[in-house]
Subunit: 419 residues, 2 copies
């Protein structure tokens, strides 16, 4: 079966935002074994949107539209799609009630134009929006499917995962099953080289490497009559990858993120953790606290941006700050030790670096970052040289800190040292 993606929005045509929804939906559809040959972006314009949808329906079995479901006059995706599919719009009592509750709960005045969002095509499947006001819509005809999703990724992604993915997976006989082996502490090209022989001769299952900042994901995908058979085909590949990558594998569970893996490791070993951040300014603690249940192990963290704060809150010695500078191996170590001491946490991680755009020098350029991790008094510190802008340096620092924490905890228990 073929699928086609249409993103609706003037802000995409003007280049104000990047079409990350298309990449997300395309990857999901590929996973589901649906072939996607076209992606289109079109503005909030009735005539052009109608023509684009008609063309898409003439050549693809399923068309997924995103965006243009909001309350404003601009938003006309639902109206146009209903017309193309020959359906009338009617008020949906369930959606109307949800809308009302949404505004009541948030204590926001509801303007009249919002009711528009509760209008749905007759006979359509209505998808509740758990993260916004506009419901999603699925319209079916004899041989075509039109799926309308809200534009904001924070609404589109959860709606796709909870409802649309299961819906689409029932359309193709046989299943496509994927599992991801996730690596940290290894570069993309090295990882690729290490699986080049497996990729060269592959047919089913296949291995596809994806790079994320500081991580490499190896996605194994099998096609089989049933999930059980697919899983059976994937199992030996996962085993082989674990053999090859050893400790660099932080999870073989597609759903688990690096921060979750680190929090799981802390929980499993009953280790409390604290953070002492300079250049990342709270991004590391924000990442750790994004994991539900982290409160068992994370009690407090500190952002010590100024030298004074590093001295006062973490006990970093003033002469060290003068002699080595705030961005140094020595100060990173003292920050981790000080944080462990003041909070009595088992694990303390400290980040200090130059995120830019200013503050760099020939000797200490932008991107230079030191990260220290203390596990029950055993401290390790590493130097990093990241490239890219302020955001990139900070993001890479957070991933590196998580990777180092994981490594230090594993080393503490295994009493072996690895790269």
């Amino acid at each position: 079966m073929t699928v086609e993606l249409i993103a609706v929005g003037t802000e995409l045509l003007l280049g104000n935002i990047v079409n990350t929804n298309a990449a997300y939906l395309a990857q999901q559809c590929a996973d589901l074994g649906l072939s996607c040959y076209y992606q289109t972006v079109v503005g909030d314009n009735e005539g052009r949107l109608m023509q684009t949808l008609q063309t898409a329906l003439s050549r693809s079995d399923i068309v997924i539209l995103s965006g243009g479901l909001g309350p404003t006059q601009d938003d006309l995706t639902k109206e146009v799609a209903a017309r193309v599919m020959g359906k009338e719009l009617q008020m949906d009592a369930h959606s109307r009630k949800r809308l009302q509750e949404y505004f009541t709960r948030r204590k926001i005045e509801m303007t009249d134009n919002n009711w528009k969002q509760a209008m749905v095509p007759v006979g359509a499947i209505v998808l509740d929006n758990e993260n916004g006001t506009a419901p999603g819509i699925i319209m079916e005809s004899d041989d075509k499917r039109v799926i309308l999703l809200p534009g904001p990724p924070g609404e589109l992604v959860p709606m796709f995962e909870s409802v649309v993915r299961p819906y689409l997976s029932r359309m193709e006989p046989g299943v496509i099953y994927s599992q991801t082996v996730k690596l940290c502490g290894i570069g993309e090209s090295k990882a690729e080289t290490m699986v080049a022989d497996l990729i060269a001769g592959q047919d089913n299952p296949t291995i596809a490497p994806y790079a994320k900042p500081g991580e490499v994901h190896l996605r194994i995908t099998a096609r089989a009559p049933g999930e059980k058979e697919a899983k059976k085909m994937i199992k030996p590949v996962v085993k082989e990858l674990k053999n090859r990558f050893g400790m660099n594998v932080y999870t073989t569970d597609t759903e688990v993120t690096l921060e979750q893996a680190v929090v799981n490791l802390l929980l499993a070993n009953h280790l409390t953790v604290t953070t002492a951040e300079s250049c990342t300014g709270g991004l590391l603690s924000a990442m750790l606290t994004s994991v539900p249940g982290v409160s068992e192990v994370f009690k407090s963290g500190q952002v010590t941006y100024s030298n004074k704060a590093k001295h006062k809150l973490l006990g970093v010695k003033k002469p060290s700050l003068d002699k080595y500078g705030a961005v140094s191996e020595n100060v990173a170590k003292q920050m981790a030790k000080g944080a462990a001491l003041s909070t009595k946490a088992d694990v303390a991680v400290a980040v200090t670096g130059i995120a830019g755009p200013d503050g760099g020098s020939a000797h200490k350029p932008v991107g230079l970052v030191y990260i220290a991790c203390s596990v029950r008094g055993k401290v390790k510190v590493k130097e990093y040289n990241f490239s890219g802008n302020r955001r990139k340096v900070r993001e890479n620092s957070v991933t590196a800190a998580l990777t180092l924490m994981r490594q230090c905890i594993l080393e503490y228990y295994s009493e072996t040292t690895f790269r």
Copy 2:
């Protein structure tokens, strides 16, 4: 004049990469006053690419294709485009020489398929690639232009800036100029209602509202013979929007974000700031420290996740925690006061709430958040009821905290109270 973008590449259709080229090219074209109504992604497939290009040329004056110019068999953008434009390919001596030099300089053995990249359509304008091997191509007919650019952004962007942008800027006499009025503390539908009369009758300039979590952006766009005239047309609209939205306007500068506006306000008033975060876990301080130059005003912040940390680090009274709970107006206030006291910062903002998925109750549901802000001892606290998952609740809390900080600082100086 109209322009249309076609990105060629299977990796885009599979969702392996995000189409950042489209956003870049779209923004550049909008800047140049070219209207872009369609963007398409198509794979390295001869038939589909040819059809897509023919459709684009039937409705747009200029078509920019990116990707598919490389040396492999897959790469067929140039061949297809030349056929559609009725041109033969021939070896270009200049490009051939450059290719040879490129490989010699890098000491890489040159495989035979690379010569393909020096083949260009007869009569085409050849654009040297300073960052790769495939040259760009411009083909002209009586009334159409087809521009071929290499896919990697590191090659496409410099080529566009140095050659294509000047080429295109000569084609359209007028310019399009945009300015954005950014609002916080007001919902999208309410904002839209307040400008419905302006939008209803608009022609040039136009106003388009965009919603971001907790923010609304109103983009005003004018077409005029020159930038000066366009700015002059936009000026009264900005003035009218400022009249209507008053204190909800946090900037009229397209480049300024809410966190930047807040940091600018702190800098302008020489106010230092500190954060005390529970449910946001460092996300608010991370947002503030994403702004370069924030170190002038932000010295330290605290993440007090546990009750013990709230008591020990911020001096929140234990009986209050027992009586009102950590998620309460009372505790939020004490957190802000305590943070101000311990750090001596002029402004202290505290966030405490239930981000979920666990921890909610009928009385205190997931999404309930209290934010307190103290400006030199004057404390204000607000209750929020956010919907959505953990990530959404945390993101909305950060935007609300920035909005409240801005409001409290402005009230402190104006001695007036507003919603």
